[in-house]
């Protein structure tokens, strides 16, 4: 039971991560790898603030705000300097590795002696509230004029330009929001596990993708389930499966490979299935 509770709690923390990555990967169609650096970035920022005596709630919020700057850097690299988005993300991640070590001057910081956002009450309840707030705000945002242009930017940049808008602006908004959420998730994880470690971001993009992909397979063709809901459910299921696997004696180090295999199998399945569909159908628009 304890294990299940921890899995659900960590699943909720990863739900915030998954909702962030959903913005870049699903909506903007950009594989933003900087999150591998942003997740620990949020954790290290939190450690720095809370250890300087700032209240844990404010420290968590500041981690979100400053974390969004990673998105500013990545977007600048690919929109202004014309570096390919995937490389731009890797460069940001690499820069953040050094930045993270500098923030507190250490690669590992115990947090047990400081306050945490979970001191407010039941950890599970607090996480549910945070996840719901993020989900509701994100859903509301995606229904606004700006939110729809974010979706249109991922869909068809030509249309965004024809509406008199600069699509780079919407990429910037999307990446900053996404990285802010990933940093928030990192700060929440740091408080949950009671320490910050430089390796905590390794493989996190795969965890996020696995969550999104698992979420996508639930009631695949239903329009009622919002994508944010799918990301949340996906992250919790992912964490529960991972928890059970470790409980059954699986080495946590092997879990990473399993994460990656889950992502490969699901993406491959989706790609091949859509190809089969194309062969059967008459085909959509014939591009000239």
């Amino acid at each position: 039971m304890k294990l299940l509770l921890t899995s659900v709690e960590q699943g909720l923390i990863f739900a915030v991560l998954a909702m962030g990555v959903f913005l870049t990967y699903k909506i903007l169609d950009i594989a933003d790898l900087s999150v591998e650096g942003t997740f620990p970035f949020g954790a290290f920022l939190f450690a720095r603030f809370v250890s300087s005596g700032i209240n844990p709630i404010l420290s968590t919020f500041l981690a979100f705000c400053l974390g969004s700057l990673a998105g500013l850097l990545t977007t600048t690299l690919f929109t202004r300097l014309k570096i390919k988005p995937i490389l731009a993300g890797i460069l940001t991640m690499t820069i953040l590795y050094s930045v993270n070590l500098k923030i507190n001057g250490k690669s590992n910081i115990p947090l047990f002696s400081y306050g945490s956002i979970y001191d407010l009450g039941s950890t599970l309840l607090i996480l549910i509230i945070i996840v719901l707030i993020v989900k509701i705000l994100l859903d509301l945002f995606l229904k606004t004029e700006t939110g729809y242009l974010l979706i249109a930017t991922g869909d068809n940049e030509v249309l965004v330009k024809s509406l008199g808008e600069n699509s780079n602006k919407y990429k910037l908004i999307g990446l900053m929001l996404a990285n802010g959420l990933v940093a928030l998730s990192g700060a929440l994880m740091a408080q949950h596990q009671g320490f910050v470690d430089i390796t905590m971001g390794a493989g996190i993009i795969v965890v996020a993708l696995a969550s999104i992909i698992i979420g996508d397979t639930i009631k695949k063709n239903s329009n009622i389930l919002k994508n944010t809901t799918r990301a949340i459910i996906g992250a919790i299921i992912y964490k529960i499966i991972g928890g059970i696997a470790i409980d059954l004696g699986l080495n946590p180090n092997d879990l990473r490979a399993i994460n990656a295999i889950i992502v490969i199998v699901f993406i491959a399945y989706n790609n091949t299935a859509s190809n089969l569909f194309k062969l059967k159908g008459k085909g959509g628009a014939k591009n000239a």
Binding site: T144, E145, S162, E165
Partner: protein
């Protein structure tokens, strides 16, 4: 009215493959009329459209639209004054959004996009009215994602979206070329009706001589970046156009 003054554009400027597509080019497009531009591949018609819309920047020259030079504006700033329908039906719409959401986006063009709600139920009757004009039943599919529409339906929707805010200039970039002949005919007819109904100043690029004559008020033929024919459509026959076209083709081959 659109006045193009002293337009110059070259490609591959610093190499041996330099192409001077336009040099001191001038053209006037009349107000509230549909002007068709035709010509063989490489004659400069697509380049001209891209230069007007700002997807390509001119080396030199003015584009005076309703008394204002838009030539120095970025593509997205120009887009506020210009509507464009591309050849590829997926270019004018957002496929994962519904028809209603796409129409709502088009309805905000030029007004700026804020954190207010995009879709307003009160505007639905206006959209239904516009879609009814197309006669394709799209008004009953407002909540359908655009990716499920056929090429012809998508292109018709693109046309409505591009013309919704009555742009000063409408650019049609071979917008029926990717459709089958029957659908192409239907979309062309709807296009003409819309242009006439809202009296839109239109430039239409076409490969189809018959379409160019049937659906425009004036036909211009380009060759190597120069106007080699400029006549009212009513004074032209398809045979006449084909004849000039063939002669030019032979000249190029010689």
């Amino acid at each position: 009215m659109l006045k193009i003054n002293n337009l110059s554009k070259s490609f591959n400027k610093d190499s041996d493959e330099r192409i001077d597509i336009f040099h001191g080019f001038n053209l006037q497009i009349e107000e509230n009329k549909c002007t068709a531009i035709i010509g063989a591949n490489g004659c400069g018609k697509s380049t001209l459209l891209n230069l007007i819309s700002g997807s390509l920047m001119a080396d030199q020259g003015e584009f005076i639209l309703k008394g204002k030079d838009i030539g120095k504006l970025s593509e997205e700033k120009r887009a506020i004054h210009i509507g464009r329908v591309h050849q590829d039906p997926s270019m004018g719409v957002s496929p994962t959004l519904t028809i209603l959401e796409n129409m709502s986006l088009a309805d905000k063009k030029g007004e700026g996009f804020s954190l207010r709600k995009l879709v307003h139920k009160g505007k639905i009757p206006k959209y239904v009215e516009l879609l009814k004009d197309l006669d394709l039943g799209l008004e009953d599919k407002l909540d359908t994602q655009v990716k499920y529409l056929s090429g012809g339906q998508r292109q018709s929707l693109s046309l409505v979206m591009a013309s919704m805010k009555f742009p000063d200039l409408l650019l049609l970039d071979e917008h029926t070329a990717a459709l089958d002949p029957k659908t192409s005919h239907v979309v062309m007819k709807k296009t003409k009706e819309l242009i006439e109904k809202y009296k839109m100043t239109t430039i239409m690029i076409s490969h189809n001589m018959k379409d160019a004559i049937d659906y425009s008020d004036r036909v211009i033929m380009l060759d190597k970046g120069q106007v080699i024919l400029d006549k009212p459509s009513k004074d032209l026959t398809e045979e006449e156009l084909m004849d000039i076209y063939r002669k030019k083709l032979v000249e190029h081959l010689m």
